[in-house]
Symmetry: C2
Subunit: 314 residues, 2 copies
Amino acid sequence: MATIKVPANTSPVQDAEALHKACKGWGTDEKAIISILGHRYSYQRKQIRQAYEELYQEDLIRRLESELSGDFEKAVYRWILEPADRDAVLANVAIKNAKKDHHVIVEIACIHSPEELLAVRRAYHNRYKRSLEEDVAVHTTGDLRKLLVALVSTFRYGGDEINARLANSEADILHDVIKDKKVNHEEVIRILSTRSKAQLLATFNHYRDDHGSSITKHLLGEPSDDFHKALRTAVRCIIDPKKYYEKVLRNAIKKIGTDEDELTRVIVTRAEKDLKDIEEVYLKRNSVPLDQAVAKDTSGDYKNFLLTLLGKED
Amino acid sequence: MATIKVPANTSPVQDAEALHKACKGWGTDEKAIISILGHRYSYQRKQIRQAYEELYQEDLIRRLESELSGDFEKAVYRWILEPADRDAVLANVAIKNAKKDHHVIVEIACIHSPEELLAVRRAYHNRYKRSLEEDVAVHTTGDLRKLLVALVSTFRYGGDEINARLANSEADILHDVIKDKKVNHEEVIRILSTRSKAQLLATFNHYRDDHGSSITKHLLGEPSDDFHKALRTAVRCIIDPKKYYEKVLRNAIKKIGTDEDELTRVIVTRAEKDLKDIEEVYLKRNSVPLDQAVAKDTSGDYKNFLLTLLGKED
């Protein structure tokens, strides 16, 4: 379930006018910006952008970029984009980031539905005039490249049918590779990047039943190079996206100084989808509500914006 | 340009009734079947199937399969399917074929536009409840698997923009690999499977300009294992699909006994697209019109059907 609260009757034209007013003259009315954009669904934000363009012959995004700054600007920019376009931007930033945010690529590839991933790849074409897999391939090497390119290129079957015999035999293949610490990861990459999610869940269940421990636990025993990190992330994203996101949030908040990029990404990308469920997982795991943890670690307009997306008003 | 001839006014219901009559009772009126289906576009054949189903509560395809036989049946079956669905069937047969028809997979991956390839992958999901890349990956190994999986999984950028500097440097990379006969084909696979077709054509042009000979010519000096065969096919399909198809037809006809599967595939898949252009290339290369060559090598209903698709009546 989503966390954002959206009023029943809204008008794109009135919203555009109010945003124009908030940006006009000296100073910016950040509160007004938050109170509008933080309470609109993706399709409504798109309508607002269109209305704004028609009314003022100006791109609302550009205007906001010039008015806002810092983490708040970044969060608003991420939020106002359509989901697939936003993910294209997130992927592109992650690809070029020296910090090696491979987990962002893996998230997009493994948490999205097959059709959603396709929409991101299409948005990537439109925005960068290149393909997502093309840029991933250029910026990575070795096994990591093989894994990431395969994950972003796949168009998994989306149905629920599973083949139990196959799940059994592929659980054994995964176990053999992990147990024997084989250098050749072809089979692991093949299984993770081509099988349907339903099939993979069945395979992971067999793994746990037949080999005494979960695949994620066994993977923790592996070296922590970039390839194995991405592999673990992929498995966790496929098994339980909400639990995965809870951990991203926990680490972002726990970190000295807070990791705003991570915090923003999870809240912005999930606020319209399942952030309510992620909040529940967070509360269970940390015994403190997510909004309280966020409020403690952030400040100013950025804090107000995130709390609005979390459905909590000041 | 297409070769089939389609009359101005047709009625799906009348066509369905005529087909029903052609299949009724003892014996089948193959001529009537050819004269209807051989003169209808893909969307019209779909309407006929729907009309037939409504009128007679029977699947037209099943009925035709039970009425017809041999190469003629196969050709009609291929022809009546929608293009993306037909390619899904062709790919599936090729994947499971012991003859190793990898070139069929490469054709579908490299000749289709990015959106057409996507439509085939979608049709593959619908028909087989698995993904195309999943089945390709299971039935191949080693470098061949890497190449084929990458080719069927790619969603290339479809625009015309090219990066000349990149074309230059990647032409050098390809040349180094081919010249030094390197075992590691990662870079060749990366370039061929992720770059846009416009970019690849620019790269191949640089290759020829800078290294004295075309990449296809240099690839002929490589070993003729399955991987290198598929690699050559991919390059040829990207450079000039019509020339590629001409050669497939030439080899199919030249072969002792004729390769009906190849002949059927090219004629059925291209009759509505560019078979007219392929005919021209064929005539230039062989000094004999394609329809004459086909007529000489085939017989009976199969021959009549192919000639109808070629726009030539008896």
